[in-house]
Every structure is written in structure tokens, then in C-alpha cells.
């Protein structure tokens, strides 16, 4: 085999890599590897000059392959592939050696880390020599969108797309739209009417010509791939209705959250003490104008307990983000409805971070809400008061701002239940093939720069199903997802990754072992030819079929046996 001309670039990443790994030594080592014609070490390969260096070398030194030893390929593979494209080289003739996340950041000994970096570069050089130019496919982008979940996120996203003249299918499990916001009367921190927001959204969604609302429905199946999904929708109300199939180009998952079950925490006595209620139960009382104890009296002492099920090692370690402001809202509402009452607010840290929220917190103090702080992981205990007390219950808590163990009088206790993923997240995740984190929230493609996309192309997430968030943040996310989709529809075509598996029909024995293996039903069996065939647009390149093929007829593009063998040799030499 004639050795292709390879360029190797070792990134210092400021000092991130250079602090541990001797980058110059790695470059010198690389220079001696077979086929390597250029090997350089540079401060920031990802920077414009860094990329230009590659482009220039490709042009001037007629490089045919490029290796960049830098951060994780998850970070910058795309960046450098684009640089190759700029220089007119096929972007797949490129390989990254991860010498930051998996070398300089995890090892202290410079000599050993340098040796490891050299091995990784060696493997990359070996591998890249065997890369083949691959072409990306372009597929049509269906302009319709499927929105799963009819809460505020779902409706906002649907309206955004529909207003832009695109068709939207909005699927909601319940018999009405609204989700959790339908259970709320006023919003924090300005006490605006949640009902007006809901009425506005529902009216517009229902009246919109471009939105097809399907309540009491669910997505049974999602087939296809980005730009060309086929969703099978089923009715929950009437099984006899049968399933409907719609074509969509993108899917936005807006399945929201459910509240934490307060009965799981025994020391709050929820379910046993009749006047211990959850935030949503208070919401109902507020709407009815009857904030009363079970005995039918307006409470004199009201206590609000924060972080119920949130920020705790036993239940959920995360913060549910909205409860603090909702609690303050309740403090105001209770004071408004019962001016003679005393409200105690038992919190851990007051998360009043949003616009207008700190002011809201101050206003709550001004109406004499008594704020009491307890420690994360501690347990306020609610018990019945003694007969002579002027209150119905007592909350015992180790109050941190006074350093005392105190008893808070209460006639009504409101538990600020946190948010948790819906029970069917796993089903949904499976349905649209996205993943969930350890808490059960859907994982975004990048926490900072891509908070609405997922690792599965064409599937977006918005709202509280990604992580707890308030209404403005939910609305922003829902629109962000819509923006992504609108941009794609505007372009009309989609480019699909060139990495997929293909069958060498000459070697295929037609044994059909692979057929059942593919989770994406991407492998067809051609009865006439008696050969299997892979639909490349559906293939997600996992390679399960490749490893299983007894006759070695399936080739995983960009992950061929030959390439991996070369890599193995490289790391071990």
C-alpha cells in the first residue's frame, strides 16, 4: 500500500495539554511515523490560525490525511473536519487523538503521559492512513413537526412553527391541553394570571389551521430518521379508533414533569396529618377562595416547607428551580386572602435568581413572612400540637440563622413538592431514541451551547422534561427548538452523516443473522437476490451487525475492521 501523506498537529490547548504532556516531543515522535510529512505543535489548534495552519499545509504540502492530537473528538472533530473541507480534502480523512480528556487531564506524570500521548498519536496515524473519503448524503426535510406534550412548552413550540406556516401535530395524553400550568392560578414573581396565559395559548392552538391537536393520544411508534420520520399515533380514549400515521421531519419532546410524591417522606406526615398539603393542593384552595384546614377554619398559622424531595441525597439531589418563587407566591397569596394569618417559610437557600425575583423576595419579607432556614439534608419534623397550644401542628426544625432548635406553630403546612421526571420517560426516551440522565431528565446535546437538541438528530427537547425550569425559560427553550427546526425547513434539505454500515453483496451469504439484530429496522432482506441490504439513511452506525456477520460481509464505514486493527497496533507499539 502506498503511504498517504499525513499531517500531524499536536495542540497545547493553552497549558491544558502542554502542562503535562511534552507536546513538542509528541510532534517529534509523530514526524518519524510512516507517512507523516508534517508534524507540528501549536498553542490552540481550534483557533482560526490553528485551523488555517492545517489548511495551508494541506495546500502547500499536499497532505492527504490529517491527525490532530488535542481534546476529545466530541469537542472539535467537526471543527477540524470543516477545516479539511475548506482545504478541499474529504472531511473523513481525518482522525483525532484525545490527549487532553484522556491523557493530560487524568495523569500527573509528564513522562508517562507523553508516552501515552505518543501511543495515541501513533494509533491515529495508523488509522488515518486507512481512512477512505466518504460522502455525506442529503435527504429531504419534511416540513411537518410532531410535538409530544401539550403543556406550555408544547403549545409554544407548536404555535411558533404553525405561525411560520408549517404543519404541526400536537399529541397530548390527557383530554385537555395545558399540562401543569392548568393547575396553577397565578405566576411568580409578578402574580400574573396563569389562566390568561393558558387561555391565550389554548385558544390560539385550537384555532390554528396549521396545528392538528390530538388529545388523549400517544405516539405508538416513530420510524424513519431526521427529516423523514413516520409517527404512528394511537388514541388512548378509544382503541377502536385505530392508529394514524403522519409524516414529520422533526420531533419536539415537551413531556414536562410530575410533582414529587410527598407521602414518600414520612417525617412530614403527608397523608396522615390532614392539614399537611402539597403545593398543588393549596393551588386548588386558592382558586376556590377557601384556604381552610380540614376542620373548615381559616388557619392562623401557615407554614411553607421548601425542598420537599429536592436537594436531598435520599430523594433527588437536584434543585427543582421553581419552588422557591412559588413558595413566596403562596406566602403573598395566603397573606392576601387571610390578612390576619402568620406565614412561616421554611427554606434551605432562597433561590430568587430570576428577573424580578429578588424584589419579590424582599416584598415577601415586607409583608412579614417569617423566613426560617434549615440545612440541606436535614429533616424538619411535623407533629400534632399539644392540646393547650393555639395551633394545630408544630414543625420541629434546626433553624440555622438562629442556631436554635425551634418549633414552628402551624395550622396548615404546605409542602413545596419538587419536580421529577414523568413515570413514562423511559418509554418516551426509547420511542424517540434519546437518553436520560441519572435523575431521569432527557439529556441535551450540549448543556451550554445546544440545550434543546439531543444526540439523536431531528429530536428536540424543550421545557421541564430536560430539567426543572420556570415559565419564561420554558418558553425560551420551546422557541429555541422551533428555531432549529424552522432553519432546517428553510434550507429544505438535510445532510446526513456519512458513517453507516453497508453490505458487500458478494460476500453476503443471506443468512439473515443481521436482520433481527438491527434496532432501527434498517436491514432489509432482498428475497430475489437472497441478500441482505442496509438502508443507509436509517442506519445509525452502531455496528452490531458488523460484529455479528459470520461472513464478514458488512462493513462499518469509518469503523472498519482494518482501521480498528491498525489502531490496536498503534496503541501497542
Amino acid at each position: 500500500m502506498e503511504e498517504p501523506r499525513i499531517g500531524v498537529y499536536v495542540c497545547n490547548c493553552g497549558t491544558n495539554i502542554a502542562k503535562v504532556v511534552d507536546c513538542d516531543a509528541v510532534a517529534e515522535f509523530a514526524a518519524k511515523l510512516p507517512g507523516v510529512v508534517v508534524a507540528r505543535s501549536y498553542k490552540y489548534m481550534c483557533s482560526n490560525p490553528g485551523q488555517e495552519m492545517i489548511v495551508q499545509d494541506i495546500e502547500e504540502q499536499s497532505l492527504e490525511r490529517v491527525v490532530v492530537a488535542a481534546c476529545s473528538p466530541r469537542m472539535h472533530e467537526q471543527t477540524f473536519r470543516r477545516a479539511l473541507e475548506t482545504a478541499g480534502l474529504n472531511p473523513y480523512l481525518f482522525e483525532m487523538a484525545n490527549i487532553r480528556e484522556q491523557c493530560s487531564w487524568v495523569h500527573d506524570d509528564g513522562a508517562i503521559a507523553t508516552e501515552k500521548a505518543q501511543a495515541l498519536v501513533h494509533a491515529a496515524v495508523n488509522r488515518v492512513a486507512r481512512h477512505e473519503p466518504l460522502e455525506r448524503m442529503s435527504v429531504d426535510m419534511c416540513p411537518n413537526t410532531l410535538v409530544i406534550g401539550g403543556g406550555i412548552a408544547g403549545m409554544t413550540a407548536a404555535l411558533e412553527l404553525a405561525d411560520a406556516g408549517k404543519r404541526v401535530y400536537l399529541v397530548e395524553k390527557q383530554d385537555h391541553l395545558g399540562g401543569n400550568i392548568a393547575r396553577v392560578d397565578l405566576t411568580a414573581p409578578y402574580l400574573d394570571s396563569a389562566r390568561d396565559i393558558l387561555t391565550y395559548l389554548v385558544t390560539r392552538v385550537l384555532e390554528h389551521d396549521n396545528i392538528e391537536v390530538m388529545t388523549e393520544s400517544r405516539v405508538e411508534r416513530l420510524d424513519g430518521f431526521v427529516g423523514n420520520f413516520k409517527a404512528t399515533l394511537g388514541s388512548l380514549a378509544n382503541a377502536a379508533d385505530g392508529n394514524a400515521a403522519v409524516d414529520v421531519g422533526s420531533v419536539i419532546v415537551c413531556t414536562g414533569y410530575k410533582e414529587f410524591d410527598a407521602a414518600r417522606i414520612t417525617h412530614y406526615g403527608y397523608g396522615k396529618l390532614p392539614n399537611v398539603i402539597t403545593s398543588f393542593e393549596l393551588e386548588r384552595m386558592l382558586r376556590q377562595g377557601r384556604i381552610e384546614t380540614k376542620e373548615g377554619r381559616p388557619p392562623q398559622f401557615v407554614a411553607i416547607v421548601h425542598c420537599v424531595g429536592s436537594r436531598s441525597e435520599e430523594y433527588h439531589s437536584y434543585c427543582s428551580r421553581v419552588c422557591c418563587m412559588t413558595a413566596l407566591k403562596y406566602a403573598h397569596e395566603v397573606k392576601s386572602a387571610l390578612p390576619k394569618s402568620y406565614v412561616s417559610d421554611v427554606y434551605v437557600d432562597m433561590h430568587a435568581f430570576g428577573k424580578g425575583c429578588e424584589d419579590f423576595y424582599r416584598q415577601s419579607s415586607e409583608v412579614k413572612t417569617l423566613f426560617l432556614m434549615y440545612g440541606r439534608g436535614e429533616h424538619p419534623v411535623i407533629r400534632k400540637a399539644d392540646p393547650g397550644d393555639e395551633c394545630g401542628m408544630l414543625i420541629e426544625v434546626n433553624e440555622l440563622l438562629s442556631g436554635e432548635t425551634v418549633e414552628i406553630p402551624a395550622d396548615l403546612v404546605i409542602l413545596m413538592v419538587g419536580m421529577e421526571p414523568r413515570e413514562d420517560v423511559d418509554d418516551v426516551a426509547h420511542l424517540v431514541s434519546i437518553s436520560t440522565d441519572k435523575d431521569g431528565w432527557f439529556i441535551e446535546s450540549h448543556p451550554k451551547l445546544d440545550p434543546v437538541a439531543t444526540t439523536t438528530d431531528g429530536i428536540f427537547i424543550a421545557g421541564a422534561c430536560q430539567a426543572p425550569k420556570d415559565i419564561p425559560d420554558t418558553v425560551a427553550q420551546a422557541r429555541a427548538a422551533a428555531a432549529r427546526i424552522l432553519a432546517r425547513i428553510a434550507r429544505g434539505k438535510l445532510v446526513v452523516d456519512a458513517v453507516y454500515a453497508e453490505v458487500d453483496e458478494d460476500r453476503c451469504s443471506g443468512c439473515r443473522v443481521c436482520n433481527e439484530l438491527c434496532p432501527y429496522v434498517a436491514i432489509e432482506y432482498d428475497e430475489t437476490k437472497r441478500r441482505s441490504h442496509i438502508i443507509s439513511a436509517l442506519c445509525k452506525a452502531c455496528g452490531a451487525c458488523v460484529a455479528a456477520c459470520p461472513s464478514g460481509a458488512i462493513k462499518a464505514r469509518h469503523f472498519t475492521d482494518e482501521q480498528i486493527f491498525a489502531e490496536i497496533e498503534g496503541v501497542l507499539e
Binding site: C542, A544, A548, F565, L572
Partner: protein, 144 residues
């Protein structure tokens, strides 16, 4: 010089490789003996990869995939799980120590776990001593 085993790690792109990256971003230190090769899914790992690695001089092979149920490709890791005992039996037939090849589940949020696994495996391989597969193959070749 003390024996420093060489481990070839095959990591799935979605969970384990991200987990190994997380160990990096969290600056969790671990033994430098592992050299990682990225594959899209643990199901892509052909038994020949493992044998190739051992033959090329690896003292151990580490295979990491998503936790059961978390596979990005729905069920690729179950396929790995089923293939693995077969591979082990094969290796046992060749007289290769059982502990030289390991299958572990590492999620994208388990940087610490990845580091611990690497440390533990390195430790075990140090106790076992160098793998003789490569030299045995060399002798074998000479004898023929």
C-alpha cells in the same frame, strides 16, 4: 523497572467514552495504562479485536458500554453481554487468564467509576504479571 501493564480499552462512543472524557473534565486521576479505542457501540466489538489486542502485546483488554437499558442503540449492549461469555470461554481454552479481559458498564456521568475501573484493573494485571500471548505467538511462529 516495575511492570506497567498495557491495557487496550474499547469504549462505546455514547456512554463510556463520554464517561472517560468526564473523568478528564473533572480531573479525576487514574493510572495511565489504558489506551482507549473508540467504537460507536460496544456491540461493534468483534471478538477478533480482543484477540488481536492480546496478540499485539496487550496485557489486558477492557470493554466498556452503556449500562444495560441505557444503550444509545437501544439494545447493543445486551448483544455484547451475550457475546462476552462466549469470548471468555474461548480465551479460557487458549489458557488466557480470565481476568485479562473485562466487560464493564460506564455511563456518561460516571467519570469516577471509569477511573476506578482502570485503577483496579491495572492493579490486578500487575499482580498477574505480563501477558505471554505475544511472546508465545512469536515462539510459535519460530517453531513452525
Amino acid at each position: 523497572m516495575t511492570f506497567e501493564p498495557k491495557i487496550v480499552g474499547f469504549l462505546c462512543n455514547w456512554c463510556s467514552y463520554t464517561g472517560a472524557d468526564l473523568a478528564g473534565t473533572s480531573r479525576i486521576k487514574y493510572r495511565p495504562n489504558v489506551r482507549v479505542i473508540r467504537v460507536m457501540c460496544s456491540a461493534r466489538i468483534d471478538p477478533t479485536f480482543v484477540i488481536k489486542a492480546l496478540a499485539e502485546g496487550a496485557d489486558g483488554v477492557l470493554i466498556c458500554g452503556c449500562h444495560p437499558g441505557d444503550c444509545h442503540y437501544t439494545e447493543g449492549n445486551y448483544k455484547t453481554m451475550r457475546r462476552y461469555p462466549l469470548l471468555k470461554r474461548l480465551l479460557a481454552d487458549y489458557g488466557i487468564d480470565d481476568e485479562r479481559v473485562r466487560l464493564e458498564w460506564v455511563s456518561a456521568s460516571e467519570g469516577k467509576r471509569f477511573a476506578d475501573i482502570v485503577d483496579d484493573m491495572t492493579e490486578r494485571l500487575c499482580e498477574l504479571g505480563p501477558s505471554l500471548v505475544k511472546s508465545a505467538l512469536a515462539t510459535d511462529a519460530v517453531e513452525r
